[in-house]
């Protein structure tokens, strides 16, 4: 079979049979209705948008409170060690004072 000739014939067939340009009845109304639907925001979408907007401030609050908490605990740990040291050494201090 002559493949090139067959190709030419089939391409010519496709050119001769151009597809229809018929539009379904009231198609433009359907598009406008879809656009109107798309314009109305969905409640869940609004809720999720609000959650996303709140996410960054919440994250900042968590980070700051975490930092504050770590810093505060560190200071308290320093105080505690000082207190322990004072308690342990107080006996020794008294003994040393009585010796001198």
């Amino acid at each position: 079979m002559q493949l090139d000739h067959l190709k030419q014939k089939l391409i010519a067939a496709a050119r001769q049979n151009a597809p229809s340009d018929q539009v379904p009845f009231a198609f433009e109304k359907r598009i406008m209705a879809r656009l109107a639907d798309a314009g109305l925001p969905d409640g869940w979408i609004l809720w999720s948008r609000a959650l996303w907007r709140a996410a960054i401030p919440c994250l900042l609050i968590v980070v700051f409170s975490g930092l504050w908490s770590v810093r505060h605990n560190f200071q308290r740990t320093e105080d505690l060690s000082q207190q322990i040291e004072d308690t342990v050494l107080s006996e020794l201090n008294q003994n040393l004072a009585s010796i001198w």
Partner: protein, 191 residues
């Protein structure tokens, strides 16, 4: 007095959505004809056209007005049809063994005497569709635009957004792919 496309577009961009309707009414025939070249089922065609119009509405602000609105819309239409082809790459491995009787008749008449198989018959149209369905999306798009619609490489580049060298490479590959499909058609039918 009837408003121009540009006036409708400006109105839509200023928030007057109903001004979009005359554009849809005016250009839908052309958009439907384009979509029917790439999808067979009418439900798929309607889905594609709806998607094209939704994209057109959402991207209307990117229309600069340098070229006619129709050109901008057809670029959008061709790209949406290409996306559809890429998303629906089914039945490409089907063989030509299950040809309908009129298609087989047409091929037999062509094999006996090419002059006895006129191209204006329905069977020839069905065979072309079958052949196009077997091509990969890019090859199908190129064959459709270059061979069937007889567009230039430059026009295809503008429609698809591909570079001119890429269109040429894809055209070369598409022709080779089509030849392979035709060879398979001949083999399946006559061996």
């Amino acid at each position: 007095m009837e408003r121009s496309d540009q006036e409708h577009i400006s109105a839509v961009l200023q928030g007057d959505t109903p001004s979009f309707e005359p554009l849809v009414a005016k250009y839908s025939p052309r958009v439907f004809a384009t979509a029917r070249r790439y999808a067979r089922k009418e439900s798929e065609v309607e889905d594609i056209v709806q998607e094209i119009w939704m994209k057109a509405f959402n991207k209307l602000a990117s229309f600069r007005g340098d070229a006619p609105f129709e050109h901008w819309l057809m670029r959008l239409a061709v790209r949406t049809c290409y996306d559809f082809l890429r998303g629906h790459q089914r039945n490409r491995e089907a063989t030509f063994t299950e040809l309908s009787e009129p298609e087989s008749d047409w091929l037999e008449r062509f094999a006996a005497d090419p002059g006895k198989a006129p191209e204006d018959e329905d069977a020839a149209r069905l065979l072309v569709q079958r052949l196009m369905d077997q091509l990969p999306p890019a090859a199908r798009l190129v064959i459709q635009l270059l061979e069937i619609e007889e567009k230039s490489v430059k026009e295809i580049a503008a429609l698809t957004g591909w570079s001119i060298p890429l269109v040429k490479v894809r055209a070369f590959r598409a022709r080779a792919e089509m030849k392979k499909c035709l060879a398979r058609l001949a083999r399946d039918k006559y061996l």
